[in-house]
C-alpha cells in the first residue's frame, strides 16, 4: 500500500481551504528541506539546497487543491444549499457522501426518490442549485451549530489499490504532490530546488502565479495528473492519454505551448533511461505552466503528468507503475538539467 498516496488523497483540501493538506505536506517534508514558508495566498514553498555544482534555481510546482463544494445557504429544514468549486459536472453529485467544514460533518446528496418521479425527470440531469447536502440536522438552528455558510466540502473516498491500479479521490493533484515530496526526500540535485505546493489551481491557476513570482526561478517543472479518457468507445477522443503507458508529457494545451527545450529534454531523458512515457496529444486543458511561464520576464516551464481516469469525480484511478515512472522520469530529468539547456542565445 502506498501510504503517501493514501494520506494525501484522503486529506481534505478544496481550493482555498488547503490547510489540512498544507500541514500534512509540511510534516512530510520538514526534515528533508533547508527551509520552508507559507506565502500570502497559502502556497507552501520549500527550499532544497543543491550541491552547488550548477548555478540554477529550479521551481517544481504541484497544486494541493482539489475540486469540491461550498455551502452557500442553509434552508429552514436544515438542508444545505451549495455550489461547486472547480469543474464538477452536476451528474457527479447525486448519491455522494461529503465532509463539510472544519469539523468534517458528514453529509449526503440525496434527491427525490425514483418512485415519485415523472418520466421526463428520470432522464433529466438534476442541477446543482436544486440539490441539497443533508447532514441529518433537524432544522437550521441545529445545522448552524455544525456548519457555516462558506464552509467547503469534499467527497469522502478511501484510497484503495486494485492490483496494478489505485482508486481514490484527488489524485489530481495529490499524485503530483506525492511525487514532489519524494523528490524533496531524495538526494540533493546539482542546483537549488524550490518546491511550490500551490493553492487554487482548480479555480484558475491562482496560487502558482504568485508562487512563481516570489520564487523567480530560472526554469520550472509542473507535476500534474492529466485526464485519461481510455474507456471503451467508438468516439474519437482527443486529447487523450492511456493508463499503463507511462507518465504523460505536455506539449501544448488550450493556453500554453510548453517550453520546447524542456519538453525535448524530458523525452530524451526518458528514452535514455528507458522510462516509458507518452506524449499528451495537443489540445484542451491547462496546467500551472500557463501562469508560471508568464511571470517576470518569462520562465521556461513544462509539465509532466501521471494519467488519471475519472478526473474531478470522487473516484479517480491511476496506474501505480505510471506513478513510479512519473517520479523516476522527473528525478532523471532534473538531474540532467543544465544552464545551457535554457540559455537563449541568438
Amino acid at each position: 500500500m502506498n501510504e503517501l498516496l493514501k494520506k494525501l488523497t484522503e486529506a481534505s483540501g478544496v481550493s482555498s481551504a488547503e490547510k489540512e493538506v498544507r500541514i500534512l505536506i509540511r510534516d512530510l517534508i520538514a526534515e528533508h528541506v533547508d527551509e520552508w514558508h507559507v506565502d500570502a495566498m497559502g502556497n507552501l514553498i520549500a527550499l532544497k539546497s543543491g550541491t552547488g555544482a550548477v548555478d540554477l534555481r529550479v521551481m517544481i510546482d504541484a497544486h494541493m487543491d482539489e475540486v469540491g463544494l461550498m455551502v452557500t445557504n442553509v434552508d429552514s429544514s436544515g438542508l444545505l444549499r451549495f455550489d461547486t468549486v472547480g469543474g464538477i459536472d452536476d451528474r457527479t453529485l447525486l448519491g455522494k457522501v461529503v465532509q463539510v467544514g472544519p469539523q468534517k460533518i458528514t453529509g449526503v446528496i440525496g434527491a427525490r426518490p425514483i418512485h415519485l418521479l415523472k418520466a421526463n425527470q428520470r432522464t433529466s440531469v438534476v442541477k446543482c442549485e436544486s440539490m441539497r447536502i443533508d447532514i441529518g440536522a433537524k432544522n437550521k438552528t441545529s445545522a448552524m451549530g455544525k456548519v457555516n455558510i462558506g464552509d467547503l466540502a469534499n467527497f469522502i473516498t478511501e484510497y484503495e489499490e486494485l492490483g496494478p491500479t489505485a482508486i481514490g479521490k484527488a489524485f489530481d493533484n495529490r499524485a503530483g504532490c506525492a511525487a514532489l515530496i519524494e523528490i524533496l526526500r531524495g538526494e540533493p540535485y546539482p542546483f537549488d530546488i524550490i518546491a511550490a505546493f500551490t493553492v487554487q489551481e482548480e479555480v484558475g491557476l491562482r496560487g502558482a502565479q504568485v508562487a512563481a513570482y516570489g520564487i523567480k526561478p530560472d526554469a520550472a517543472f509542473v507535476l500534474e495528473s492529466t485526464p485519461a479518457y481510455d474507456l471503451p468507445t467508438d468516439q474519437d477522443i482527443s486529447p487523450n492519454v492511456v493508463l499503463g503507458k507511462g507518465p504523460a508529457v505536455y506539449v501544448m494545451d488550450r493556453v500554453t505551448i510548453q517550453d520546447p527545450r524542456l519538453v525535448s529534454h524530458i523525452m530524451r531523458t526518458a528514452e535514455k533511461n528507458e522510462i516509458p512515457f507518452q506524449i499528451r496529444q495537443p489540445g484542451g486543458g491547462s496546467t500551472n505552466t500557463a501562469v508560471i511561464q508568464a511571470v517576470h520576464g518569462g520562465v521556461p516551464a513544462a509539465t509532466i503528468a501521471v494519467p488519471g481516469r475519472h478526473a474531478h469525480t470522487p473516484n479517480m484511478m491511476i496506474n501505480l507503475e505510471d506513478y513510479t515512472n512519473f517520479v523516476k522520469l522527473t528525478e532523471a530529468t532534473l538531474h540532467s538539467v543544465t544552464p545551457q539547456l535554457i540559455n537563449r542565445s541568438i
Binding site: 448519491g95 449526503v108 440531469v125 441529518g136 474507456l231 468516439q235 477522443i237 481516469r309 475519472h310 469525480t313
Partner: protein
Amino acid sequence: MKIFKLLKTLSETPGPSGFERRIADQISQIWEPFVDKITTDRVGSVFAVKSGSGTEPRPQLLLAAHMDEIGLMVTEVVNRDAYGFLRVTNVGGVDIRHLYSQPVVVHGRRDIHGVLASLPARMLPSERRNGPFGFEDLVVDPGLPMEILQELVDIGDFISFRQPLRKLMGKNVTGKALDNRASVAAVIICLEELQDRNHEWDIVAAATAQEETRLLGAYTGAFLQEPDAAVAIDVTFAKGAGLSEQGHPELNSGPGLDIGPNVHPGMYKALKSAAEAIEMDVSVGTHTRGSGTDAFGIQVARSGVPTGLVSIPLRYMHTMVETVNTKDVERTGRLLAEFITRLDSAFLTDIVKEMMEEED
C-alpha cells in the same frame, strides 16, 4: 444489541435480488439465539420460528421484511488498451441519475471492486450529451487488465453498491440497502424484545428474497408458511431533499402504519392500538392500489391472509445514501413486539366479526 453496529452489518452485506445467500446467512446468524428453528425456501428466503405459549394448534403470525437490495448485473466484458471494463444493467429500480462515480463490488469468481465511470458528457455522441449517464455510457472500471478480468467475471454476475454505513447528526444513519435492512433490523429488535415477554401466537420471521424485482419471496414464503395473519415491514418515503410535500413523514417521527387495499382494517386497528398502549407516535400512510411491498403478495397467498403494513421513514430510497433514524428502527421493533404480545386466541375471529359490524 447496539443498533448502529447491527444496521452496519446488515447494510454493508451484499444482497442484490437473486444474490441473497450472503445476507441470508448473516441474518440467520443474528436470528439464531432468539428463535427455535430456522429454514429456507426454494427462492432463497429465510424463515425463523419462535413458538408462542398458547395452546396448540397455535395461530401463526408472519413478520415479513425483504432482505434483497437493488443492484446491477454484468451484460458484457469489454476491452480497451488491454484494460477490461464491464457493461451493466439494472437489477430492480435503480435510479441512473445516481450511478456515475459510484463504487461497486462485482461478485465474480471473487469479489472485485470497481467504480462506475463514463466519458465526460461532452465526449459522448451528441444525442446522449444532455441526460444523466445511462447504461449505454456507463462502465464498471475495475482497474484490471482484460486478461485477468475475463478470468474472473462472466456475463450475468451480480454487482452490489459499496458504501459504508455512516452516522449523520441526530441518530440518523446513511448508507445503501437500508431499504430494507432497516426493517430486518426492526424484526431482530422485536425478536430480542420478545425474549422476556409472553406471546401466545407462534411467530415466523421472514427475510424474503427478490422483493425489488417482483415480490417473489412474499408470494412463495406466504404460500409455504400458511400464516393466519401477517405484517410486512418496509420503508416509506420520508421528507428530505427533493421531497417536501405534505403527507410524507419526517425522519424520527415513529413508524408509519399503512392503510389501503393491501392492508386488512383489523390489522391496521390492532397495530394502532398497540402503538397507543405504549404511547408511541406513529404516522399514517396510505396507498391506493398496490403498496409496492411484500404485503401485496402475502395478502393473496392461498385463500388470503389478513395483512398489516408497518413502514420506517427513509430518505432517498433506492440510492446509496438512503437515510433512516435509528430511533425509528428501534420504535418499529418495539411496536411489533407490543402488537405480538397482545395477539390472543380470539384475535382472528374478532377481526372477521368487525368486518360485518355496522359503523356507529
